[in-house]
């Protein structure tokens, strides 16, 4: 919208802005984003931090600031890692641990999502399910390990059960919040389009709850590893946690660190999987993606 002013009269006492008095404005070039964008690829930037940390560690170990009986050097750890892979103890431990996490995640996802659907979609479900779950979720699940051992013995069952329990709550909370966070206007639009009850759930409620569900999945994965560590350090005879307990008994910090690194990488892998899922499933989302 333009506003046209009357030309200022010369005899007025308001100073007129005339052409000859005009001072040059201080103009500032606006650089296009493409010119400002860093040349370094994203993945390289993301790996720089950990690599720098590793270099610092090696430096501290080499100079003797960090004695090897407190923490072994990265070089030594790499060597031990190679040995553990070569004699097959690490791969078999990893396979065992992965199997446990996968089973716990599967059960936990089914239970957590199922309960969230029941209490998210139906008011009666909310009344019946939500209160007990809110109560149970404040109980530290790790504290249940002794009880689980009494109930399920020392086999695979208590380990899977503890992971399942850890995974269930964050998924439940986030899927439930996701369902209840769906825009009521969209539900109404769906109704006006003649969607059936199930159609509404499938086309409106579930896609709308997906961002929350994926956040829940991310939390759950983190907790799954945590639960795994706890479960495997009590009465285990295989798995990464068992490897660590054994190393502790022989004062092998290098083996312990190798196991920790394996945990870290598995966590990273899990995060990568969720990130990929989010990129794939949430590409419709009109949200801020960072600069």
């Amino acid at each position: 919208m333009s506003i046209s002013h009357a030309p200022p009269a010369h005899q007025s006492d308001i100073p007129a802005i005339s052409k000859d008095e005009e001072s040059p404005l201080d103009l500032q070039p606006l650089v296009p984003a493409s010119a400002r964008r860093a040349r370094v690829p994203r993945w390289l930037r993301r790996t720089t931090g950990p690599v720098l940390l590793l270099l610092l560690w090696q430096l501290l170990s080499a100079t003797g600031v960090l004695p090897s009986d407190v923490l072994a050097s990265p070089g030594r750890i790499a060597e031990v890692g190679r040995e553990l892979v070569a004699d097959g103890s690490l791969p078999s431990a990893m396979a065992t641990s992965l199997r446990r996490v996968a089973a716990g995640l599967l059960f936990g996802t089914v239970v957590g999502t199922g309960l969230a659907l029941v209490s998210g979609l139906f008011r009666i479900g909310e009344d019946l399910v939500d209160a007990p779950l809110q109560m149970l979720r404040t109980v530290p699940f790790v504290g249940l390990i002794p009880l689980f051992i009494i109930w399920f013995g020392i086999g695979e069952t208590p380990k899977t059960a503890i992971i399942t329990l850890g995974v269930t709550f964050p998924l439940y909370l986030n899927v439930y919040a996701g369902i209840r966070g769906v825009d009521a206007q969209l539900i109404e639009a769906g109704e006006s389009l003649g969607l059936s009850r199930w159609g509404l759930v499938r086309h409106v409620v579930l896609p709308g709850a997906l961002p929350g569900a994926l956040t829940g999945l991310r939390y759950s994965l983190g907790i799954a590893w945590l639960a795994l560590v706890f479960a495997e350090q009590v009465n285990a005879d295989s798995g990464i946690g068992f490897l660590m307990v054994q190393a502790r008994d022989f004062l092998r910090t290098d083996v312990i660190v190798v196991c920790l690194i394996v945990y870290a990488f598995l966590g990273l892998l899990a995060d990568f999987i969720v990130r990929s899922l989010e990129r794939l499933l949430l590409q419709w989302r009109p949200t801020f993606t960072g600069r």
């Binding site: 769906g190 419709w284 009109p286």
Partner: protein, 262 residues
């Protein structure tokens, strides 16, 4: 209490008798009667909060906490003020959402072509402009081949230029389809421009009714148009004589004079 929203009636596209809708004991719609003929374009005006949107929601079947008789066609469609597209579905899937069976994508594209949006059928809703999203929403309503099209201030959030185009589009679609249209708006000019009949809602009932018998396409510069507009504004409690003569007639300047803004 006789409430039936699905039995088709041949003489009317909408038949409402003694409709009452209360919120916490306060009757927003109070024993309202309304008839709309098949193929008729009716505009519903009223002050903000007078219950016009509630009436539309009742007719759409979205609000059933009602008393009285309401008869509407089985095939009806709504376009809301906000486009309300599902952000997780591409435009063409949004258009087909809720249709029975497994309709082909071509069905959606035909409707999108009708509103001039055929080239955006693959797009995500987040990439549409305001006007495009509103047209997609209209296509979603049209693809249902409604006998009654309910429009709830569909141009309210559009800029003045886009609004003119959208109004023209709705006029064309109505003439081509021949469906009954109920347009809820607070824009008097829009109502006079498009409707066969303008209703003013006040105190929970249709307080005033004005048939618009100007030839189409209508010209907002026509003195009879200005006359109708002025009398309707007066009905809505806006004193048109108070308009300053120094300002050019808004009728000629902008098609977006809103009763609520005055």
């Amino acid at each position: 209490m006789a409430t039936d929203v699905h039995r088709p009636v041949s003489r009317f596209a909408v038949h409402v008798e003694g409709l009452t809708r209360s919120f916490d004991g306060r009757a927003v719609i109070d024993a309202l009667d309304l008839d709309v003929r098949p193929g008729e374009f009716v505009a519903l005006l009223g002050r903000s909060g007078c219950g016009k949107s509630t009436l539309l929601r009742v007719l759409a079947g979205l609000d059933r906490e009602i008393e009285g008789t309401v008869l509407v066609p089985r095939r009806k469609a709504v376009a809301f003020q906000a486009p309300r597209l599902m952000p997780w579905k591409r435009v063409w899937r949004n258009v087909l959402l809720g249709l029975p069976g497994k309709p082909e994508r071509a069905v959606a594209e035909q409707a999108l072509d009708e509103v001039g949006l055929g080239h955006r059928s693959q797009a995500w809703p987040k990439t549409l402009s305001g006007g495009e999203a509103q047209r997609a929403s209209l296509a979603r309503a049209l693809v249902r081949e409604p006998d009654l099209l309910l429009l709830d201030e569909p141009f309210g959030a559009l800029d003045a230029l886009t609004r003119i185009k959208a109004q023209r589009l709705v006029g064309e679609v109505w003439q081509r389809r021949g469906c009954a249209v109920l347009l809820v708006t607070h824009d008097v000019e829009e109502a006079v421009l498009l409707a066969d009949r303008v209703l003013v809602m006040d105190g929970g009932v249709i307080a005033h009714e004005q048939t618009v018998d100007l030839d189409r396409p209508r010209d907002i510069a026509d003195p009879r148009f200005a006359e109708l507009r002025a009398s309707l504004l007066e009905r809505l409690g806006v004193d048109t004589a108070a308009e300053s003569p120094g300002i050019e007639s808004p009728a000629a300047e902008s098609p977006a004079v809103k009763a609520s803004a005055a």
